[in-house]
Structure formats: structure tokens, C-alpha cells
């Protein structure tokens, strides 16, 4: 069943409908403008738009301009670093978990599944907080720069999310592919690595990106 094109859900409005829509739009626009105007007036009365408040962000001659932008760009760099490290580590770990889940013997599959399910239920903030508090308590050598706690917390959470996604992708590869790979003499590991995982990643690319 394909989604109906939006036009199927209604007829294009006729002259009367168009007039109603236009009138309603006008009223709504006026209402929104009034509310926005009130809010802006209130902000202006409190001096929120005073140039002195915005100058550090917008005026290159302001003494705070340089340090502020330096700070912001530094933040962007740290965010990119944390994101990059997290993406790399959790892709590897998540793929590992997903394959473990498919190839594991029954007696320990429940352990892998349980681990995935439990870690999925941990809030990310708590994972990060956990890493930053517990790791230094275990061993002073683990007193890392703060950003690595962020990375560790994010990796713990995202690797199980990615494991779920890759697992769903593996399940979506047609059965015949796995059978054909085994039939031409590939081992299970080879068939996963050479045949199934590449196709699973391709199928799951939209979900991985989001």
C-alpha cells in the first residue's frame, strides 16, 4: 500500500473555501503579530535589545567579541570531536554487538540481548554522569579530561541503538543471500563480513544517519 498523494485526501478548495482560508489566515496572522509584538515590546522595555547586550556577539570592535567567538568556535570544535569519536566507536561496537547477537549460541544470546535491552533503558545524561563519577572512583588513572566522559556515555548509549538498527538491517537482507554465501563455501564470519553486513548497512543508512 503506497501513501496517498496529499491531494487525494481532499478536493482542492473552491471559491468559498478559498475565501474562508484567506480570512482565517488573515485573522491568525494578525493574532500572531499582536502576540509577537507584545512579547517584543516587553523584551524591549527590559532593555533586551540594547546594543551593549548584543555587541559582544555582533560588533567586531567590542572587546568581548574575540574571546566570545573564540569560545564558541572552540565549543564547536569540541562538539565535533566528541561527535566524531562517538560515531566511530559506537559504529564499531554496535556492529560487533549486532553480529554477536546473530551468531551467538542460544545459551549466551540472552546475555547479549539483555545487555542491549538494559543499556537502551539508561538515560544518556545518567550514562555520562555515571562515567564522570564512577570511573575516577574506580581508578585515579581514569581521571580523564571531561570530554571523554561525554564520549564514553554517548558510546554506551549509541552503540546499543546502532546494534538495534544494524540487527534490523541484517534481518531485512533476503534469506537467500545468507544461504547463497554459505553455499559458495564462505564461513559464517566471511558471509557476515562480505555479504550480509555491507547490504545491511546500505539498507539501514537512513536510520543510521538519523
Amino acid at each position: 500500500v503506497t501513501a496517498p498523494p496529499p491531494g487525494l485526501r481532499y478536493d482542492p478548495p473552491g471559491p468559498r473555501g478559498r475565501r474562508r482560508v484567506a480570512a482565517g489566515t488573515a485573522v491568525a496572522v494578525v493574532l500572531v503579530l499582536v502576540v509577537a509584538g507584545l512579547a517584543l515590546a516587553r523584551l524591549a522595555r527590559q532593555g533586551q535589545f540594547a546594543w551593549s547586550r548584543w555587541a559582544p556577539l555582533l560588533d567586531p570592535r567590542d572587546p568581548s567579541f574575540r574571546p566570545l567567538w573564540h569560545f564558541l568556535i572552540g565549543g564547536l570544535g569540541s562538539t565535533l570531536l566528541a561527535a566524531g569519536a562517538t560515531i566511530a566507536c559506537s559504529l564499531v561496537l554496535g556492529t560487533l554487538l549486532a553480529t554477536l547477537r546473530t551468531v551467538s549460541a542460544r545459551w549466551y544470546r540472552w546475555a547479549v540481548v539483555g545487555l542491549i535491552e538494559l543499556l537502551r533503558g539508561v538515560p544518556v545524561v545518567i550514562a555520562i554522569f555515571f562515567a564522570s563519577r564512577v570511573l575516577p572512583e574506580i581508578d585515579p588513572a581514569l581521571d580523564l579530561p571531561l570530554i571523554w566522559y561525554v564520549v564514553i556515555g554517548l558510546v554506551v548509549y549509541n552503540s546499543v541503538v546502532i546494534a538495534e538498527i544494524v540487527g534490523a538491517g541484517l534481518a531485512a537482507v533476503p534469506r537467500g543471500q545468507a544461504e547463497a554465501a554459505l553455499a559458495v563455501g564462505l564461513s559464517r564470519g566471511q558471509s557476515l563480513r562480505l555479504v550480509l553486513l555491507p547490504q545491511a548497512f546500505w539498507i539501514m543508512l537512513p536510520a543510521l544517519i538519523s
Partner: protein, 216 residues
């Protein structure tokens, strides 16, 4: 372990604060998300624009930043309230965008024949939406909606770091920082109490998915 057992009442009250936060935010987000989803499929271009803008803005803003704006921005323009009120507002705004998208995918899954049949017996768009499209859309979007709710429960942990007194994450923080308990047992306790909320939701999801799979 003593740290958890001695403070069991702190955890339980934290659980209920988190639960209250989530029930309010979930209810508001469901309503707002449904309204926005019907805006996004409506025949009126302006409403479609509003829905799209709503979803795009909220989905692409980190929850932390939304909470920041609400908790520290609203008081600046004179809107004062409790931090839990701000947290509920932030969480439900953020979640409503995801509810809207889940529902919209459900609306798109309603087969074209249903919509055409509704139109051909003379239902107007809003009647068709209310009596034909949305009931079916709700059913097929239950699995994504439950995932959205689980994500929301976990996102609510952020609220504790924004001055909401007494939810699970705030209590865990105060037990480790202010009262000096060891972090490992206290935070493990926090995680376990979050599981009390998320694991049943996950199990519910599994049951519902099986039901829906049978119906199709």
C-alpha cells in the same frame, strides 16, 4: 548497596516525581502532536506551513537548549513559574515534534481507498480525519509512539539537571555530590529505578507490536 537501601524513600519519591513529570509531558505532547500532525496533512497551506515549521524547529534544537531557553528565558520576559512547570513545558514541546512525525507516518500508512471512500460518502476533510484517518493512524503508529514515550522518559533525566527538585536524576546527583555517598551504588540505583519505568514500556511495546502484526 547500603547507600541505596538507606535512601530508598529518596528514590521512590524521585520515581514518582519523574513519573508525574512524564505523565504531564506525555499527555500534553500527545495532544499537541496530534494537532500538529493534522495541521501537516490539512488542505490549508498556512496550517501545513505552521506544522512543518513546528516540527523542524523543535526536532533540530537540542532538548537542553530548549529547556535552557524556557527555564532562563521566560523569567526574563516576566513569565515566572516553577522549574517543574518549565521542565514539563520544555519536554512536551520537544516530544510533540516526534509525536507529530510518528502520527504523520501513521496517517500516510492509511490506505488510499479508505480516504477516497470517506470522501465519496461526503465526509468533509475534518470529518474524514476524525472518524476515518486518525483512528487508523493511531493504531498503526502505536509502536513508534511507544518508542517516543520511552525516549521522553529518558529525556526527562535532563530536567533534574535544570533545577527540578526531587526527580530521579536530581536525587542521584544530590546523594553523590552533597551527601557524599559513593557514586557507583547510588547511580546504579538511579539507573535501576529508570528501568522500572522504561522496561515495562518496552515490554508493552513488544506485546502491541505482536498484536498489530497479527491484525495486518
Amino acid at each position: 548497596v547500603d547507600a541505596v537501601l538507606d535512601n530508598l524513600d529518596v528514590y521512590v519519591s524521585g520515581l514518582f516525581t519523574t513519573l508525574r513529570l512524564c505523565l504531564w509531558s506525555g499527555a500534553i505532547a500527545l495532544v499537541a502532536g496530534t494537532v500538529m500532525a493534522s495541521f501537516r496533512v490539512s488542505p490549508v497551506p498556512v496550517l501545513r506551513g505552521v506544522g512543518t515549521a513546528w516540527v523542524t524547529t523543535l526536532r533540530n534544537t537540542p532538548l537542553t537548549v530548549i529547556l535552557f531557553f524556557i527555564a532562563f528565558g521566560l523569567p526574563e520576559i516576566g513569565l515566572r513559574g516553577s522549574y517543574s512547570g518549565f521542565a514539563i513545558a520544555g519536554l512536551s514541546l520537544y516530544t510533540s515534534a516526534f509525536v507529530c512525525e510518528a502520527l504523520r507516518s501513521g496517517v500516510n500508512a492509511v490506505s488510499a481507498g479508505q480516504v477516497e471512500a470517506a470522501r465519496s460518502i461526503g465526509l468533509t476533510f475534518s470529518q474524514a480525519l476524525r472518524h476515518v484517518i486518525l483512528p487508523q493512524a493511531f493504531r498503526s503508529s502505536i509502536p513508534p509512539l511507544v518508542s517516543v514515550v520511552i525516549a521522553m522518559i529518558k529525556n526527562s533525566a535532563v530536567a533534574g539537571f535544570f533545577g527540578v527538585a526531587g526527580d530521579l536524576s536530581a536525587n542521584g546527583q544530590s546523594l553523590t555530590s552533597a551527601q557524599g555517598y559513593a557514586a557507583l551504588p547510588v547511580l546504579t540505583g538511579v539507573v535501576i529505578f529508570f528501568w522500572f519505568l522504561t522496561v515495562p514500556a518496552g515490554l508493552l511495546l513488544a506485546v502491541v507490536e505482536r498484536r498489530v502484526a497479527v491484525i495486518r
